[in-house]
Amino acid sequence: MDSILLIRTLASIVRGATPLIFAGIGETITEKAGVINLSLDGTILLSAMVAFAVTYTTGSVILGFIAAMLVGALMALIVAFGSITLRQDQVAIGFVLTLLGAEMSSFLGNPFVRLKGPSVPHLPIPYLADIPIIGPIFFNHNLVVYLGYALIIFSWFYIFKTQPGLKLQGIGERPEAAFARGSNVNLMRYVYTALGGALVGFAGASYSLSIKLGWSHRHTAGNGWIALAIVIFGGWHPFRVAFGAYLFGSLKSLSSIFQRVAPGIPSQFFNGAPFALMIIVLLLVSSGWLDRLLIRLPVRLRRLVHDALLGAPPGGLGRVFVKE
């Protein structure tokens, strides 16, 4: 493969990973607060549809994104209301919403199937895009991709370096202790669940308006589950979530390359391969195998490798906080 093709492939991986970064970081924020929003797959479908429909009707890409974020936040608020206020099972609510979102996107999106509509304009960053190799890979995209970079850094800074971010970790790790320190645990959980949901909605819009233009039935199906897996793979840390998104993107483009190389093998094999590989990677980082591997390492390295590879879920994840 020549270098131009390689750069083009890498650029497409960076671009393709963008929605997963938005969804993965959105869900990370929600889970950091201690709430599991399992509805990602349905939310992304519905918000992708709504974003395209609104943009197609109004001609405004920005309105499309705003509408999608509202849809995402609304779906998340249903999870929050059901789990925090009604104290129902988060997993069950999320699962039902996944199905509901998918069905609604098909039903409501029917008039918009396979239409050509406006999309996010291409916007190379002046000067940066001219840097050899790096430029075309990272800075020759559109605004959505750049916002993704900003989100990775900003969310990391917010969660780990600011006071409100510290409190966010607190309410997810140990709501009782956060409450004892004066946090309004349930209100904050509502806020962060909605915020995370809005980012997931943004991810949906970035599919239909930037990455995979337009709308068709089951347009983005499966990506929500991948985003959920990436959150676990990412150990609830924005940098590793981003890495997970790029890794999945790489696996996908590898499979399309192999498809060209070996046309004899059914295409379904290559389409499914990234998902299977993702499962294997997940198994590696979240099972006892890693423990066994770690004890073979020198003591000095263990802690480092352990911290880099393993992330524990927030201690209060999925647990309803009830004031005594």
Binding site: P164, L166, Q169, A177, A180, I295
Partner: protein, 491 residues
């Protein structure tokens, strides 16, 4: 700051947790709050710190009536509480734990808080690494961190709920010194909640005894132990005499066993436990004693060495084989690991029946069988009671009642943790009865009295090293305390 509780009442359904409690704590004093489990100590403290609201009565600070809607409000008024399990954030760093407590600023002042922490550490002779993660600290260090947090927030009244559970002897000495200093030199009011007589006797200036939600007495130091016991229980309890039973053949042998996990490796353990013998395992939490105990019960596979039960090699056999060979394991998490939440006592009874069972359950027979056990083991509950509705002591009784009648080896984590004195004594009566039929008992405990009183031999674990067993009759609590802390006694 002077804190007064006047006629505090709190009812949970028909249970009168606090039934008109009145109590005054003067600044500059250490006030003990003594009572067995369920006497209402924790409820009272939760009312004083805003976790729950009282159904009646009044709280006054320096004579002014106050009412707190939340713990955050109570700390703003200067009342801070150190919970039995430190209420912190284990995966976060020490510094972040402190930062979380402070008022809102977008970017926290890390350097400033670091200085505050270092200064407080110097003042109280604590050594806490600001950059360590809290889950790598010992319970004692986590307590120290919580005390520092409360002080940094300006607490004038400090309430400690059973603070000596799970901390080492040197840490206890340091804790007591800290509390004395806070009261005597800095004029704070300290409330020390405990069910341990010796600690209250050693530390407190004044003590209030609670029983069944009522105050049974306010006493000034010096205290008489019999009087305190009488106020706590309404009767005097006698400690059981230790009787020796003749030891039999080795029931369990470890031969150069090494157990490896990511966190800890315990190597080269060799030990022979004879039938009827009681072995106490001591050490700070996470020193390897739990790994060793689990290896004995087949719950943890050794990476090398041999485990023998009555001479037969069981090294790589499954836990089921260990069970069949007469080994039982009672974990510390009674409701988490030992029992099944949501199932009733009868259902537990059915699940523990061994041998071939018919497809359809004989519920009538099972309920009768459980009724017998309930009567025999004096469990306060019905056969249809879900296990989570039982109190800690009754859960332990239920676990003991479900053990098979004949056992070769019984491995227990903290057999009496959280139990009141009466239940604890009863549990040990049952255990000591079992060794007459040749059961070897291994137990982990953080309670030095318990280790000294019931063990034939004690094994101290320290940082993954198993020391050779010491004869319980030939050691003292002090020596044991220092061995556990990893400090050798020079004398």
């Amino acid at each position: 700051m002077k804190i007064e509780a006047l006629d505090i009442r709190k009812y949970f359904g028909p249970v009168r947790a606090n039934d008109g409690i009145t109590l005054t704590v003067e600044p500059g004093s250490i006030h003990g709050l003594l009572g067995e489990n369920g006497a209402g100590k924790t409820t009272l403290m939760k009312i004083l710190t805003g976790f729950i609201s009282a159904d009646g009565g009044e709280t006054r600070l320096d004579g002014r009536p106050v009412r707190f809607a939340s713990p955050a409000e109570s700390i703003r008024h200067g009342i801070g509480m150190l919970h039995q399990e430190p209420l912190d954030f284990p995966p976060l760093k020490v510094l972040d734990n402190l930062l979380l407590a402070f008022e809102d600023r977008l970017i926290p002042g890390r350097q400033q808080v670091r200085r505050v922490l270092e200064e407080l550490c110097r003042r109280f002779n604590f050594s806490i690494d600001p950059d360590a993660r809290v889950n790598t600290l010992t319970v004692g260090e986590r307590q120290q961190l919580e005390i520092l947090r409360l002080l940094a927030l300006g607490a004038e009244v400090i309430i400690l709920d059973e603070p000596t559970t799970g901390i080492s002897a040197p840490q206890k000495v340091l804790l007591f010194a800290t509390l004395r200093r806070l009261a005597k030199e800095e004029g704070k009011s300290v409330i020390f909640v405990s069910h341990k007589l010796e600690e209250v006797e050693e530390l407190c200036d004044r003590v209030t005894v609670l029983r069944q939600g009522k105050v049974t007495g306010h006493i000034e130091a010096p205290f008489r132990a019999e009087q305190l016991v009488q106020l706590m229980f309404g009767q005097s309890l006698l400690r059981s005499d230790r009787s020796r039973v003749p030891l039999g053949e080795p029931a369990l042998e470890l031969q150069d066993v090494t157990v490896q996990t990511y966190r800890l490796t315990v190597s080269h353990m060799s030990l022979a436990v004879r039938a009827g013998e009681v072995i106490g395992l001591a050490g700070l939490e996470g020193s390897g004693q739990r790994l060793m105990l689990r290896a004995c019960a087949g719950l943890q596979r050794p990476s090398s060495g041999r485990v023998r039960l009555q001479g037969d090699d069981f090294t790589r056999r499954s836990y089921r084989d260990f069970l069949a060979a007469g080994v039982a394991y009672l974990p510390a998490g009674r409701i988490e690991e030992g029992l099944i939440r949501g199932l009733t006592l009868t259902e537990h009874y059915v699940l523990t029946q061994r041998g071939h069972q018919p497809l359809f359950i004989d519920w009538v027979g099972a309920a009768e069988g459980m009724q017998h056990k309930i009567a025999e083991f004096n469990i306060r509950g019905q056969s249809g009671t879900p296990v989570e509705a039982l109190s800690g002591g009754n859960q332990q009784r239920a676990l003991l009642s479900l053990l098979p009648p004949v056992l070769k080896v019984l491995a227990m984590e903290h057999p009496t943790r959280g139990l009141d004195i009466e239940s604890a004594m009863w549990v040990w009566e049952q255990l000591l009865e079992r060794r007459k039929s040749g059961t070897a008992i291994l137990f982990i405990s953080a309670d030095l009295d318990e280790l000294m009183e019931h063990s034939d031999r004690i094994i101290v674990f320290s940082g993954g090293v198993m020391a050779s067993p010491i004869d319980a009759a030939a050691t003292s609590i002090e020596e044991l305390g220092y061995l556990i802390g990893g400090v050798r006694d020079n004398s």
